[in-house]
Amino acid sequence: MFATERRRRSAYLYLTPAALVFLVFTLGPAFFVLYISLFNWNFLNSALSTFVGLQNYTNLLTSSTFWHSLAISLYFVVGTVPVGLFLALVLAMALMNQFAGRGFVRLAVFSPYVTPVVATSIVWIWIFNPQFGLINGLLHMAHLPELGWLQSQRWAMPGVIFYTLWHSLGFDVIIFMAGLSGISADLREAARIDGANRWQEFWSVTWPLLTPTTLFVLIITTIGSLQAFTQFFTMTAGGPMSATTTTSYLLYELAFLFYRTGPAAALAVLLFIIIAGLTALQMLLSQRRTYYQ
């Protein structure tokens, strides 16, 4: 009993520094953002700030800019999450097979993930350059129409999605490969003995047992997509014509370009609620169809 109490106290003692850092640098600022969101906040002289209640929230919720940014964020999530999940799963399954050069292909798929987003997105700006870029050069050689890419209202977001998939797919592939490695070979062998073909084996054994991994990747990539900022900052700056102004980018614009601190704080709170709500919904819906060995 005495030893248990001592261990408990020691545990709290060891947790204290990390808990305090979390409190001071994460939890505290988060609550401060909530507080600021209720003010017309003067960041240079907080004494001049005025309490406006929920005005910042109502202004945002009635502004077309906010809803437009949400639609753009949704476009980005739909373009990266389902497509990314599908591609990552296909690649992971392919890379689990034995073939010559497998190590090199695995390296090639994963290596973009460890490159800095700022540096590689600048490279991709040049790849997408309408006049001098590689992609339009290839389209020209193939006698196909050249596109405006990042300068085009229609093609800017597909361009950013393409870059994001290129950059982040490696991580999802690794997670799926880890999930596939964890599935007992006995179960697949049993299915094959029972006469299942490769598709039936995948659909009835592999896929159900991979659902915890899929749920993890789904949640992580959805949160990541809703928070994505760097590639928008470097590649498009939210343009052209706000075609890539996601909610995260709008938050940056309000907070750090236009210094409208109160509305930016309100937007941060709304974005948190949206991400938390979506994550909860995904977990709720997925729990019914998640199987564990």
Binding site: L20, P240, F258
Partner: protein, 436 residues
Amino acid sequence: MPTKKTTALVMASTLVGVLAAGCGSTTATAPTPKASGPVTITFMEAMSSGTLKPAVQALVSQFENSHKNITVDLEVEPSYSVLETKIEASVTAGQAPTIAQAYEDWAAGYANSGAIVPLDSYVNGSNGITAQQKSQIWSGVWKDQFLPDGKIWMWPFNKSDFVLYYNQTWLNQRGLPVPTTWSQFASDAQAVTSSSANTWGVSIDPGSSSGAANGTYFYVSLIRAYGGHLMKNGKPNFDSTAAQEALSYIVHMYQNGSMKFGSSYPGQTALGAKHGLFDLSTIASYYYDQEAIGGKFTMGVAAFPKGPAGEGNVMQGTNIVMFSSASAAQKNAAWTFMKWLSEPAQTAYWATHTGYLPVTKAALPLMTSYFNSHPYQKIAAESLAYARPTPPVAGMDQGIGALANAIQEATIGHRSVATALAAAQSQATSDVNSAQ
């Protein structure tokens, strides 16, 4: 074995330690030197690269030699964006510098918050400048020091404006004139545009809702050359006839293929690659344009062409602001330094060593030999006579983003000029109202 008291004590001391570390920067106050004797002032600036850093250091050294009782501590930041962040952080923490470089819209925000002081009493005081000295400051630069309340809130430092860079070899080969009017510019641009040769007149970055780029400033210059103004009666005036005519001009060039859009200084890239005939950029880009060209052809520099209502140009660069938290002695010393920096000898030194422009016409006679070897600098300096900054109004930076959007709406968005500008006007009005 830790006791309950010991555990509580460790936790409490850790909490105090972390909070003290987090709050340490807020407890200190601005230094308050004695009213007489040596005074130290801090100058937060972003002149950190190339020839800029040694030029500032040399000027400070000269100043300290001639003003033995004043020490100037430079707080050098790597870029304007970092400078802006550091100024805000230091003001919020109660540790503002004595003076700092600032753009006009930054100054408007600082003035609204009481972070900076107006300079009228210094400029017009016993240690101020004479009417003759005032008249020598370029009129655009002089007007740039005021905020809409009519007070002087800034003092000029590093100024530049836009010029026209062109492929002189190409113009000569085609027998085309160096454009002196925007209509000549458009006809030159169209004359070299060829889809088979993949050549065109000019590439611009139109900017985005996040803010202006060189293409946005070109449009603002064009509005002015058509006789328009960005503000009228204290409100945005983005849908004026002049703004519509100027945007129609851009749409026409975009549609006939003589103007293309890009990002990251596309005009410089196209000019250097011999695909574009012109580049519209500030005089500070001279070195970078020459680098892009790499000796492949001769580059010419000309003043921005005239429009139906005359010249139009946008002033670039920053001014110096003085923070209210400084002591009276520091403020007096800071004003002495600011005034000294803008005097003919110092502004001429600054211009000849950095490529920025002298803030006063009185410096021109001191720069004769420099202008002989750098004639393009004289072109840019003379353009300061009519260059104007974007209006120093809170929210205007956001409004200019709406103007950038209008360029794109009317070109790649295929909306009518009137519709695009009506949307920009509405957005800018809302932005400016919200920021007040």
